[in-house]
Symmetry: C2
Subunit: 346 residues, 2 copies
Amino acid sequence: MKPKMTLKRIAKELGVSISTVSKALHDNKEISQENRDKIQAFAKFYNYRPNNIALSLKNKKTKTIGLIIPEIVHNFFAKVISGIEHVAKLKGYNVLIAVTNESFDKEVINMELLVHSNIDGFIMSLSKETLLNRDKHHLQETINQGIPIVMFDRVVDDIDCDKVIVDDLEGAKIATQKLIDTGCKKILLITTEDFINIGKLRTQGYLEVLRENNIKQDPSIIYRVSDMGNLERKQEAIEEDINKIFDKVSGIDGIFAVNEIYAITALNVARQRGLRVPEDLSVVSFSDGILSQHSRPSLTTISQHGFKIGEEAATLLIDRLSHEDEEKEFRTKIIKTELIERDSTR
Amino acid sequence: MKPKMTLKRIAKELGVSISTVSKALHDNKEISQENRDKIQAFAKFYNYRPNNIALSLKNKKTKTIGLIIPEIVHNFFAKVISGIEHVAKLKGYNVLIAVTNESFDKEVINMELLVHSNIDGFIMSLSKETLLNRDKHHLQETINQGIPIVMFDRVVDDIDCDKVIVDDLEGAKIATQKLIDTGCKKILLITTEDFINIGKLRTQGYLEVLRENNIKQDPSIIYRVSDMGNLERKQEAIEEDINKIFDKVSGIDGIFAVNEIYAITALNVARQRGLRVPEDLSVVSFSDGILSQHSRPSLTTISQHGFKIGEEAATLLIDRLSHEDEEKEFRTKIIKTELIERDSTR
């Protein structure tokens, strides 16, 4: 049985990247004329139909949403999915989900796969590699071909589409201020690298509040976790890093962690070092998942309202699909965060 | 734009169930000749292609696995997905996921959707409604049409296909024996209703161990949770029920809960009632998720090895897809459980 030709196979056969094949098939001028001709001829020979041909079949609606998420183990994405499914069910839509595992190639392949499955539109949160690469041709071309995209949480500014974002800056400010208000003087920030927009904004919120309170920022207590790899193995490495910071810097009395996993890891370190939470050390997390509720001590946290994000994203997409003939302005919905006080702060 | 005809739409138009339409289109004799004729004519008129016609397009492999799971919020399914994705990536397969939210109709619709997306085969864990209904025509017909299915965790005996199951009976026996060995005399069982096979087997394991240890079984401390509804709202109701059992029955010194959520809920009740865990009350859970690790006290639990289940399921499916010309016996892989001792037992 002859296997079906795919982007991946073409890329492999011709020894080029998936992105190059995808761009060439969309006649993107970034690829040399020679390479475009070669790749297009190869695809044609193998009867490969790129998205824009699939699209000519797209005059029938399938009432299916394609959902692309970077990972599945974070409870936040599970909540977003529940919110999307809730609205989809009410409106008679189905949802097909694909996971990128933070890979750019997987994101491109999954979009291709779902377009071939005749989904009507996408809801997506970008992979870390996509944010890092800044290669976004697959998003723009999907939109150009008339398939709407709603981005949530991990979005990029330079693609025009509907977006649902959390007020990360404001949330981080509330979290940091809470620590200061309860007497913390030396607050360790555990955050992501800056190419992740949400990590960057949360870092910025932390820094702004320090400034507002006339506290000098100290680079030795800003820990940027590089986490492109496996989550579970990473947790040990993060634990080690936090321990090293506590070894070097004395007097840390507060921690603001930009996600639950980092916060839980910080709680583990506190336990190992005999620090009482919240008496010796206060911890505030970001995103109110199942871990924050059930860890001991339970975590004071900034709620991201994942379910609501999912509901809003599905509503925006279905609304756009139902009024495709109208030219609607793209909208960005900002979901307000909220401080949920539990036992990890004074 | 004319909407595409779907099973759901046909069912609605003709005022019959999705199951009836699906059966009629597969010429299932359970449906009267008259109704079959009517439904088939209607589908034909609207140019609806049921699975078996879609199948004539299926001589090209897409290297895509369709994954159908009952829910997304349980960490167990997230782990299974990670295991499936891991093997799929190694073997060059993609995965599309659909969630049934425990609904039979959603299961049938999602399978249809994925067959139309030209997936090569299914990996699935059945919805509670499917287990309850005992309507399985959609599974048998999919298999008859040459699309292999691998079932995991929530399986049914009377469908011949590859299966991956956890040794639930053995796991429950280990859990119950652990409680008895550490001195528990009155063990509350928190389990599901019996139509869920895994709940039934775990209940059976509990009862067998009681018998082996000459402990009389007491129906007042066997609590069967009926949980067809919303998980989060249910948790409060479960908490209330457990409290009522503690009000009525004195001397409960052990709890075996068949999943993490039930175990965590039991810990909450213990806290409310001033019972110390494990001094006054020991708790053993089933399935080693993120909650068991991070609750306080952390939970002694039976590990289900979700990642491994996912790996095995994907391996079985891809193996079958790669040797489609051979007549292979169906296999059932049993994943051994393991006791992980933490702080909730003495």
